[in-house]
């Protein structure tokens, strides 16, 4: 078994206290292990009606008629609504994602088509799975019975699945108000790429396709809602990653004051981006609770999750690299096509992430990238762990290997020759980042990442083995891939700290957890910032009533934003505590220290005061009585942290694989990941995040694919067809890390929730192609399932076992 990084701190200690940097065991676990989790479907709402959605069986059709008479008469049915019944609701989902940042608009003038998704389809359906009607019944069994009695007549229309086809002049329009099926378009240039290509020693030109796969959290989506008959307030339980955004959108749709809506995301069974956007079901369930005057619950089933919750990853890259004879990159050109599915849900987020992460850790003087997002009759695609980066890294890192083959240079060496050096930090790429500012890598040591990956993967040993030749038709290959990831997306996150009369610290943050362990890591940060024991801190995340503002846990941003907000709030509360104690004790504040929850003289003489003694006596002696309506002197602080720019994480992965020439099966012999996410708060949790991300990447690289037929019918709608890897498919990983603290925030932290998932597709494709190099195979898309590998071998003229 391989071992992860040592847990001994080898890094600057954030906050300077005893808790950060340590693998503190999670406070979340005990409750979850006893079966006391509180996921949406665990919240008992006596008398709740249950919702079930009727979904389109057609990829593209006109709705001729809907008859709900029989469904309404079915046992236990409370209501049946169609598009016409809810067309008056002003739903506008995912406004923040659809907004183009001003800097980006000014510099690049991108095109963004807004295609509002109806809460329920009215005249047309645009993908299989689109909600057409909702049934509310006494329970889910009866609701699903009644779904079969809703009589919808459809007139099928021509179907577009292939994004290239959808851009053809004669393609049918998905949205009548648009000029074509373009959802977004943006282009960017640095230097003089045409001249660089014209003068290059070598040019490689390839088409690579990142295939469609999905987040697939084990807990499907769920929403419930209840109007409190006493207060009239609407409470929504949603397993969302962005509760405040759900609050704003729900209030808008239902015409309520946002402060009258409380959204709670307590335990969430994995999100990975799929729960980071807003969906129509999320609006309709609270609406139903208000109209029916009783609680309403909806829980998605797995088939719905696979086919109708957001998809991801499908991109085509027509990429060209220009290099000199030594392999130094002169220019990169890429024409990117992103399959958006039927609606533009998140605008430039994924496409522009692909643009501004294409160059990765490499120095490229001349750049020419354009990206087009295309609307098709497939389920809408939105960010999924990595959000445009795994796709673009797949293209770039595959192209680097093709260039290495063209020039006869060892792929790892080609990478080494092109890396930005640590002495060049902060490094400006010449591109614009996704917030509209000049793109800058804040810190990092890319050559060290690669050196470690090469050494750990034993490149020389693998090459020696390859020279010995294949054994029993099993071919060894090695692949590398590197990435950078701009993390810590703004605009802000909120932390509120209150010292309770008991002396306990109450920390509320805007960013909820979907398994990342915020209750532990944020408590570590708060404990050090204030000077209290770790177990004196209680953390609430994911309840809009606990913080006035918040964004959420998406885009590898929670630790950077909520962590630094927590740190700052903690430092401010610490100052207040010491000042209050100084007044109480009648000593100067600068003579006092607060450690482990006890305030005492720095001289280690004189009286000591516990936090409980200080906070438990109100009003504090010497403290002014609160003036009317103001509470400025309490032991509490609310801080909004607005990051000044991105904290850029980075990594180098390597894989050694063995491909069975006869069966097409790929076995991972050794998987190495060296990552740099700056200062680490909890190494155990960090390692878990990286490992989990890599496992999802391996799934996408080798097994998972959301497949559509040419008729727009999804063919992988169950876990029998959509292959999520099990323990047997995911090997132990060989992890290592370096620490380049981010200068962009007080803690020096960078995000790492997504990083693991970014490189595996590329690294495994590179490794498989390396293994099959004797046959001249080029890998242009995944997943590298046994059947696809055998297809590649057959195309290369190799006999393989019968299908």
């Amino acid at each position: 078994m391989s071992h992860g990084p040592s847990h001994a701190p080898r890094q600057p200690a954030p906050g300077g206290g005893p808790w950060t940097g340590r693998p503190v065991p999670r406070v979340e676990d005990d409750r979850l292990l006893r079966g006391n989790g509180r996921y949406v479907d665990d919240v008992a709402l006596p008398g709740a009606a249950e919702a079930a959605f009727l979904r389109s069986p057609h990829a593209h059709a006109r709705i001729r008629s809907v008859d709900v008479t029989a469904a309404l008469a079915a046992p236990g049915v409370v209501a049946v609504w169609t598009g016409a019944d809810v067309a008056h609701l002003p739903a506008m989902l995912n406004k923040e994602e659809l907004r183009t940042p001003p800097g980006l608009a000014e510099l690049l003038d991108p095109y963004v088509a807004i295609t509002p998704m109806p809460l329920l389809a009215t005249d047309r359906v645009l993908y299989v799975g689109q909600p057409v009607a909702v049934v509310l019944a006494e329970n889910r069994y009866l609701a699903e019975d009644a779904l079969e009695l809703v009589d919808v007549r459809y007139a099928p229309l021509p179907v577009l699945v292939d994004p290239d086809r959808a851009l053809a002049e004669d393609a049918p329009l998905l949205h009548d108000e648009l000029r074509d099926n373009t959802a977004v378009a943006v282009a960017t240039k640095v230097g003089d790429p045409d001249a660089a290509f014209a003068s290059a020693h070598a040019v490689v030109s390839e088409e690579f396709q990142a295939h469609r796969y999905v987040a697939s959290p084990i807990e499907t989506r769920a929403v419930s809602a209840q109007v409190d008959p006493y207060s009239g307030e609407l409470t929504v339980w949603s397993n969302t990653q962005t509760p405040h955004r759900v609050r704003e959108a729900t209030a808008h749709t239902l015409g309520l004051d946002p402060e009258r809506v409380r959204v709670i995301a307590t335990d969430v069974g994995g999100g990975f981006g799929q729960k980071g956007i807003l969906y129509v079901e999320e609006m309709l369930v609270p609406y139903a609770a208000r109209v029916l005057g009783r609680p309403v619950l909806w829980r998605e089933d797995r088939n719905e999750n696979l086919t109708a919750s957001s998809h991801a990853r499908e991109q085509i890259h027509r990429i060209e690299l220009a290099a000199d004879a030594q392999g130094h990159l002169l220019a990169v050109r890429d024409r990117i096509t992103v399959n958006f599915g039927a609606y533009n849900m998140t605008g430039l987020v994924v496409p522009y992430n692909s643009v501004c992460h294409l160059l990765g850790p490499y120095r490229v003087p001349h750049v020419d990238i354009d990206v087009v997002g295309v609307l098709t009759n497939t389920t809408f695609a939105t960010p999924y762990r990595g959000a445009g980066r795994p796709e673009t890294v797949f293209a770039m890192e595959r192209a680097m290997d093709r260039l290495a083959a063209e020039l006869g240079i060892e792929p790892a060496e080609l990478r080494a020759r092109n890396l930005v050096g640590p002495d060049e930090m902060p490094y400006a790429t010449g591109l614009v980042d996704r917030s509209g500012k000049p793109q800058s890598y804040d810190s990092g040591d890319f050559p060290e990442l690669l050196r470690r990956a090469v050494a750990k993967a034993d490149l020389e040993g693998v090459r020696a083995r390859q020279r010995e030749g294949a054994r029993d038709g099993r071919l060894v290959g090695i692949g590398f891939a590197m990435y950078i990831e701009a993390t810590g997306l703004g605009p802000f996150e909120t932390a509120r700290i209150d010292i309770a009369p008991s002396g306990r610290v109450k920390l509320a943050i805007g960013a909820p957890s979907q398994g990342q362990g915020h209750r532990t890591s944020m408590a570590q940060i708060a404990a050090d910032a204030i000077g209290v024991p770790f177990d004196a801190v209680d953390v609430v995340g994911g309840d809009t009533s606990a913080t006035p503002f918040g964004v959420g846990t998406i885009a590898s941003r929670a630790l950077v934003n909520a962590g630094n907000a927590t740190h700052r709030a903690g430092r401010l509360v610490r100052e207040k505590i010491i000042e209050a104690a100084a007044r109480r004790l009648g000593v100067p504040a600068d003579g006092l220290d607060l450690r482990e929850g006890v305030i005492r003289s720095k001289a280690a003489e004189g009286p000591a005061l516990t936090l409980a003694e200080l906070a438990g006596r109100a009003p504090l002696p010497g403290t002014p009585e609160p003036t009317d309506g103001r509470h400025g002197t309490e032991l509490s602080e609310t801080v909004h942290f607005r990051p000044p720019g991105f904290a850029v994480s980075s990594g180098a992965h390597a894989a050694v694989v063995e491909v069975d020439e006869h069966t097409g099966e790929t076995e991972i012999l050794h998987y190495v990941a060296v990552h740099d996410a700056g200062v680490i708060v909890n190494p155990m949790i960090a390692e878990g995040q990286v490992t989990g991300g890599i496992a999802q990447g391996i799934g996408g690289a080798l097994y998972e694919e959301m497949i559509y037929g040419p008729d727009g019918q999804p063919r992988t709608g169950t876990y029998m067809d959509y292959l999520v890897p099990t323990s047997s498919e995911i090997p132990d990983l060989d992890l290592d890390e370096i620490h380049s603290p981010s200068p962009m925030n007080d803690l020096g932290v960078k995000g790492l929730g997504e990083g693991g998932a970014i490189a595996p597709q590329a690294v495994l494709a590179n490794a498989v192609e390396d293994a099959l190099r004797p046959f001249g195979v080029v890998v242009r898309r995944g997943p590298l399932s046994p059947s696809r590998v055998r297809d590649l071998l057959r195309a290369a003229g190799r006999p393989t076992a019968a299908r």
Partner: protein
């Protein structure tokens, strides 16, 4: 007897027994043991065991991830054997002895070695798949002899986890087996 939760309120059972609406699949009375407590209930023919546990008995520790028997999140022990509660009908459990995650360490009782190992090895993140893994691992530790590595791998491959990448789950199960079979045959759990 374990928790009050496992014993439904008799009045509630009576209310459930009088169908409020025309249930197309018919009703049956079942008697079984859940986490050591005797339970008698009226259930519809088509009621899934997972829904019976969660919605009727309030035992929400058993999670439903796919409803078609692949992900393993809903695993409970049915007469000592791991079973998919989403593929089992409540009526099939007449006379059965069921164990759920709530029954492992009721109330404030110390965590079992399996539960503790998942905590100590960070074998969980979001916690949604965890009860299923824990129940299967519990069954492994209750075998008379230490299961060999192939048996352990086989048992774990019946569960999906999307968060952890499995390594720490394998470590947790190995640790629990080491503890249970200390001094036994040295079969590795991974």
């Amino acid at each position: 007897m374990t928790t009050d939760l496992a014993t439904p309120d008799p009045a509630a059972a009576t209310r459930a027994a009088a169908p409020p609406l025309a249930e197309p699949s018919g009703w049956h009375e079942i008697r079984l043991t859940v986490d050591g407590a005797s339970v008698t209930a009226q259930v519809e023919s088509r009621l899934l065991l997972s829904d019976f546990l969660r919605d009727r008995l309030g035992l929400t520790g058993t999670h439903v991830g796919c409803e078609h028997g692949v992900c393993g999140a809903c695993t409970v022990l049915l007469d000592g054997e791991p079973a998919r509660s989403c593929l089992t009908l409540a009526v099939q459990c007449e006379g059965a002895e069921l164990r759920t995650v709530e029954g492992l360490a009721p109330g404030d009782a110390p965590l079992t070695p399996v539960q503790r190992a998942f905590h100590e090895c960070h074998g969980m993140q979001c916690g949604f798949c965890t009860p299923g893994f824990v129940m299967t691992a519990t069954a492994l530790t209750e075998q008379p002899q230490r299961p060999d590595a192939a048996d352990v791998a086989d048992a774990l491959s019946g569960h999906l986890c999307r968060c952890t990448g499995y390594r720490n789950i394998r470590r947790a199960v190995c640790q629990a087996l080491d503890e249970r079979f200390a001094g036994g045959p040295a079969g590795r759990g991974e």
